[in-house]
Symmetry: C2
Amino acid sequence: MLWPAMSPTLDFYFFIGSTYSHLSVWRAAALAHERGVELVWRPFSVRTLMREQQNPPFVGKPVKMRYMWRDVERRARRFGVPFAGEPPYPIDRDERANHLAMRAALDGWCPEFARAAYHEWFIERRDPGDEATLRAIIASTGHDPDAELTPARMAECIAAYQRQTDRARELGLFGSPTFVCGREIFWGDDRLEDALDWAVSAAH
Amino acid sequence: MLWPAMSPTLDFYFFIGSTYSHLSVWRAAALAHERGVELVWRPFSVRTLMREQQNPPFVGKPVKMRYMWRDVERRARRFGVPFAGEPPYPIDRDERANHLAMRAALDGWCPEFARAAYHEWFIERRDPGDEATLRAIIASTGHDPDAELTPARMAECIAAYQRQTDRARELGLFGSPTFVCGREIFWGDDRLEDALDWAVSAAH
């Protein structure tokens, strides 16, 4: 008996607030589509894991931080991703934009929400976690901010966000973006191509 | 009047003790040659800069460290670079192997020395900073350990190593490997291709 080949899938763990995730939010969907890989968008609190692991990437590290901005700028140019200079950083103190990304993931509009949030952050240079900006992002994706931000709906997506963060911890994640295929994890926008190759191989 | 085009060059800053530098020590020369780029091997004490910048990559970070070894293994396989499992880590406590790499850089045999040191470390799984291993590495490159390790010659290469570390600090380096073209720095083996592209563009 012949089994049908599995369709390749790749989990895209990301956090709105991660600078390199800007590149992946713009790049990952198109590259996955080209390779025939289904991309599953998974917001998680990398900030929680970084705090637990005492692994903040840039706080107190001005030399590395300066390099990061220059590198993001160069990589954005290389890939044709929009970049308008250093945006505000850090952002989304209460992780409200990330909670809404989880809401969007539960309801099937996460890619649109994430792109709109990164557009506000990197191009308009506004904190997507600010109430007015967050409402504008939700509205821009064709959804009703009042309906999405009710306490009951927020409680549901916050719980799902925490569960997804627990799953990320179990998988051994420590940074964003991270691409996951089975137990195999690929950290960084610069591992997107490796991760897609892995997903395609794993499915055959 | 027409000026002749400059020949592209790229500085390859590395530290024997950096795990990802294993990939670059094997990959960089061939890729640079293909692109017509002259590669200048520059040992430096990234450990000194990491200490100053409070930026140790893996100490006290077991989750990130576990990932790093798996990632190095996967990348080695991807590039056809030898890998024989996790080698001893950390190594070269007194930076003697790095001092000798500087000696070799001053005298034009740094690529051979670095490859022999990484072979001992990653394949034979010995600390290249241990006296017997260091002597074997020097001898394997066709040089005389007794002649290279005299106090006068060591003093000269240690001073050059410290000057090169000072230069790396001025350039804003914080990790190894780093590829440098003018004031432009590219951190990580995964930026080697970007750095070569930059070097070629800068020369035209």
